[in-house]
């Protein structure tokens, strides 16, 4: 209820301010028109008038951007031309006046609707039916007014976006730039990933296998059967450890459980394998798409690993939820913070998230706690 109230108040006040500006804009438009009449024949005069008008229009449009900033923050950052501002101001006053009309309707409706009350309080009511129908009519006007108010607010917004917001061309260019940079980011992330896998293989697996080979070679060269048997026993142990490691490496490269039993199960495995206690809360409703869940998995796994390895945390909390087509992932740990978003691991994550048009926030003040949040669109 409070939310609705706040929103209504905001809309009413915004429209009200819009009405006040509409008078200034109307005046400005009329004056500009009048000033243009005598100089219609001379291009130079026309230009002079229009230049001045444009400068003033930029100021007026700027005011509207501030007024609408709450619902359309992008307008404040938009670089519109003075020409566009002039066109906007020339039509904006109509929406403003319409807002005035709607507010008037609302006020009138409210008066009529409540007429029964205050007439009853002030005088004797001698024509009750008339009063009753007036109230009904008033209620209808209120209903119309409320709808009109929302309509006017929407119209206001559309006008501003259309005239002042980034043009189609700009939006397209921006999107292309964004895609180019995320594509480069993905390639980098893939290369980093490959380097990591190579490292796992050479610095982990290869060492183990060489050690295994050495043990067997020593067993072969030893003349003492008891010693040979002991070395073979050790080799057997190393072989077992190597197999464990291989499973571990394969898992780090790609957790097969993701495909077999879904994100929730894979995250449970992360929690189980983690050296620190992890509290996991997952509410999905449906399984997110493959690419999305893979990235979500790596976000959680990287964050939990970092918490244990770098932040010396004692526990971590993971929340994953899918709402309104957005998968949100939040990992919080009680470590000493100071995580570097430009570090290779987090940078790789950010790139992977960006590639899906998602967003990643790292909040890690010195002294902790660290909170990693990712939002991934799932459509």
């Amino acid at each position: 209820m409070r939310k609705v109230q706040a929103r209504t108040t905001r809309i009413v006040s915004s429209v009200l301010v819009g009405v006040a500006y509409a008078f200034a804009e109307l005046l400005f438009t009329l004056l500009t028109g009048l000033c243009l009449v005598p100089v219609l024949g001379s291009p130079r005069g026309k230009r002079a008038v229009l230049d001045r008008a444009r400068a003033l229009a930029v100021t007026l449009a700027g005011r509207q951007c501030v007024r609408l900033a709450r619902s359309a923050p992008e307008l404040l950052a938009s670089a519109y031309t003075p020409d566009r501002a002039l066109r906007y101001v020339a039509v904006r006053w109509t929406a403003g006046m319409l807002g005035g009309l709607v507010l008037g309707t609302l006020l009138l409706g409210a008066l009529y609707a409540s007429s029964a009350l205050w007439m009853w309080a002030v005088t004797e009511i001698d024509a009750p039916w008339t009063v009753f129908f007036s109230s009904l009519g008033g209620l209808f006007l209120v209903f119309l007014g409320v709808h009109g108010l929302h309509g006017v607010a929407a119209l206001d917004m559309r006008l501003a976006r259309h005239h002042l917001g980034p043009s189609e061309q700009t939006l397209l260019e921006r999107r292309i730039a964004e895609l180019a940079s995320t594509r480069a980011g993905v390639l980098d992330a893939v290369h980093d990933e490959r380097r990591r896998i190579e490292r796992y293989l050479h610095d982990g697996m290869q060492q183990q296998l060489v050690a295994l080979g050495m043990l067997l070679a020593r067993a072969q060269r030893s003349g003492d059967p008891a010693r040979s048997a002991e070395l073979v026993g050790q080799a057997h142990e190393v072989a077992r450890r190597t197999l464990d490691e291989l499973r571990d490496v394969a898992w780090r490269v790609y957790p097969a459980a993701l495909d077999e039993s879904g994100l929730h199960a894979a995250l449970e495995t992360v929690a189980e394998r983690s050296v620190l206690p992890v509290r996991l809360r997952v509410s999905l409703g449906r399984e997110p798409p493959d690419t999305v869940r893979t990235v979500a998995y790596f976000v959680v796994s990287e964050a939990v690993t970092n918490a244990a390895k770098h932040a010396r945390a004692t526990r971590a909390e993971v929340r994953v939820g899918l709402r309104r087509g957005v998968l949100s992932v939040r990992v919080k740990d009680d470590g000493h913070g100071g995580a570097d978003p430009e570090g290779s691991g987090l940078l790789g994550l950010a790139r992977r998230v960006a590639a899906l048009d998602g967003r990643l926030w790292v909040d890690s003040p010195r002294g902790g706690p660290t909170v990693l949040t990712a939002e991934l669109p799932c459509d």
């Binding site: 050495m214 060269r221 190393v238």
Partner: protein, 214 residues
């Protein structure tokens, strides 16, 4: 021989130390990173330091850098570098300033104990030991293909063994030919490659390797 081992994998380091102890060598220190290696060598210079190319912190070529520094500061200490995979650049860097007591082997060779011990002995006695794989790649992909084209298959085989650091006697044994036959092949090779003026085992190996790798 007295040896120092430097490798960041504890498992491999200790395994190697035991293996060498079994074979009668004395391992004076085992270390896990390049700084510790330099300190250990300075404190008590061994005959040979066996060094892994990749060590912390960056796991790129710290081991190789440390090996080069050891050769500069302690001429009496030989270095045998172990690498995860064949990297011609590393072999070339080792060769650039050193004419003796250096070796470059693939890590996997450790499993071939005889070959590994043989290489270690060669480095320990001031000669060279290069991995057959490195040499094979230098020989097969050399930019100087023309003179190599002129070598007979037998000469090519002799060249590869020579480039690994083997003496004429060892080459003869491996190829089952007489030593004088090997010497004849050597002279033919030197003539064809234009290296006739070189003397001594290490120098001839380095001459061949530099020629192939340049």
């Amino acid at each position: 021989m007295r040896l120092i081992l430097a490798d960041d994998s504890t498992l491999l380091r200790e395994g190697l130390a035991r293996l060498l102890a079994d074979e009668g060598h004395e391992v004076t220190a085992t270390v896990g990173d390049a700084d510790a290696l330099l300190e250990a060598v300075a404190a008590d210079p061994p005959d040979v330091a066996v060094v892994d190319v990749r060590m912390p912190p960056t796991h790129t070529d710290e081991g190789l850098r440390a090996a080069l520094r050891i050769r500069e500061r302690h001429p009496g200490v030989g270095v045998l570098v172990l690498s995860q995979y064949v990297e011609k650049r590393y072999a070339a860097e080792l060769l650039e300033r050193n004419t003796e007591a250096v070796g470059y082997l693939l890590k996997d060779r450790v499993v071939e104990i005889d070959e590994f011990l043989d290489a270690l002995a060669r480095v320990g006695s001031g000669r060279t030991a290069f991995d057959p794989e490195v040499v094979r790649r230098l020989v097969s992909r050399s930019t100087h293909t023309d003179p190599l084209q002129r070598l007979t298959p037998r000469e090519r085989g002799v060249l590869e063994l020579m480039a690994q650091g083997h003496t004429n006697a060892a080459v003869a044994k491996r190829l089952y030919v007489s030593q004088s036959a090997v010497e004849k092949h050597c002279n033919a090779i030197f003539d064809k490659l234009g290296l006739s003026g070189t003397e001594g085992y290490s120098r001839r190996v380095l001459a061949v390797l530099r020629y192939l790798g340049s």
